[in-house]
Amino acid sequence: MEKPEYLFKNGKRLDGRKLDEFRKMKIKVDVIDNAEGSAEVEFGKTRVVAAVYGPRELHPKHLVMSDRALLRAHYDMLSFSVEDRKRPGPGRREVEISKVLSEAFRSVVALDRFPRTGIDVFVKVVQADASTRITGLNAASVALAHAGIPMRSMVTGVTFGKIYDDKGKTYMAVDVFKPEDQWGMADVAYAKAWNTGEVVLLQMDGDVTKEEFMEGKKMADKAMEYVYKEQVKALKSVYEVE
């Protein structure tokens, strides 16, 4: 795809959304039988599955901590989740994303309850249309709660970016999708422990002023409430009496 002339025109983004509008979102809980907890989250065409195993015995042994559990997220994409086939197995990008996802959860989960163990959170991107790490984070949060892991808060994330119109004017927009991720001027991944308000994940690449960032963040905070409510609704629906 060539660089488009605009990403925003007549109050609409390329997929018809307004600047503060989320893509169609779906959350399904309990999608993997064998896991302690699992969830699938869709943000538009981006679809990610998360599964939690543990607390359980931790390997290799040198990682074992005597006073707490080691939580590790393992992010990866299916080879056919993207346009050009991705070589199977995690590369440098996947390793970095796994690290920031792990760290996003470590201050929130009550790891001291499970000394000497490991908690594994597997995050698999089934289909990628941008915002995959944040979609994965939202799925991981639901999967951890579903697994009965104690945590002070749900973790909730959204992305926002900077896009342009045909006159070169720029705008901030929430929940970026592929063309905006590829051609936009900035792309922010942002997550909070929603119930306590702490920022637990923040990554950006691009070029923004402080004012632009704050404007995007304000929209993102509002969108985050919507995502959080969907997470809670999905979790509760598992136990609603049929």
Binding site: V31, I32, D33, N34, A35, S38, K45, V49, A51, Y53, R56, H59, H74, L78, S79, F80, S81, V82, E83, D84, R85, P88, G89, D120, F122, K124, V126, Q127, A128
Partner: protein, 254 residues
Amino acid sequence: MSNNILRKNIIDLLKGGQRIDGRGLDDFRKISIQTGVVEKAEGSALVNIGSTQVIVGVKMDVGEPFPDTPGEGVLMTGAELTAMSNEEFERGPPGEDAIEIARVIDRTIRESKVVPVEKLGLDDGKVWMVFVDMYTMNADGNLIDAGTLGAMAALMTARMPKYEDGKVIREPGKALPVTGKAVAATFAGINGHILVDPEEREESVMDARLTIGMRDGKIVALQKGGNGSFTDEQIEGMFDRALAHEKKLLKHLK
């Protein structure tokens, strides 16, 4: 958790022709196949056999042919036993089980010649590379048959990208040529009893395993696994049973 009581339960039930989940010795679990589940893939399928679930996708690219087969496309099959699909599976590069599973699926697809690789050459000497990748989502036994069904369904529904002026254009073009349908049936031997489509608990106590890949009433691939063995009669019996299953399995591939 495999334990002696489970093994005893499974064997006691088999003596009476029964299985731990209530099936007969020659019954597959319920099979369902959904195709077109990943838009970004050229072809894709989600397969359930009981609570075993695998997702298979086909991606295509243009590359160089193997030196000994100029003008022929390249078919590659991979499998990942994801650590998210079973407590027992470990992270990291594919282990011997994953490699065996991928190669057995590959063998059935390749030897059945359902994908005519000779038609996948391009005018400039390059060829189409067809990558078939399977991932386990929930592993509860018999991943080979599930993966073979998934590979077949994904290939049958794959749309080739376009190739113009030496560039791959990722827009769904014409259908990938597929000239037939291949399937596999896997049997487990437990204490002299032979049962089809073993679930995980059965695999955990089985002595030996035989996978039979088939096309059009003929056997195209075989793989015996496990530390135990089969008798001549058992193998002949499995051939007959497998060929009867072929027809039933084909009904899931439309």
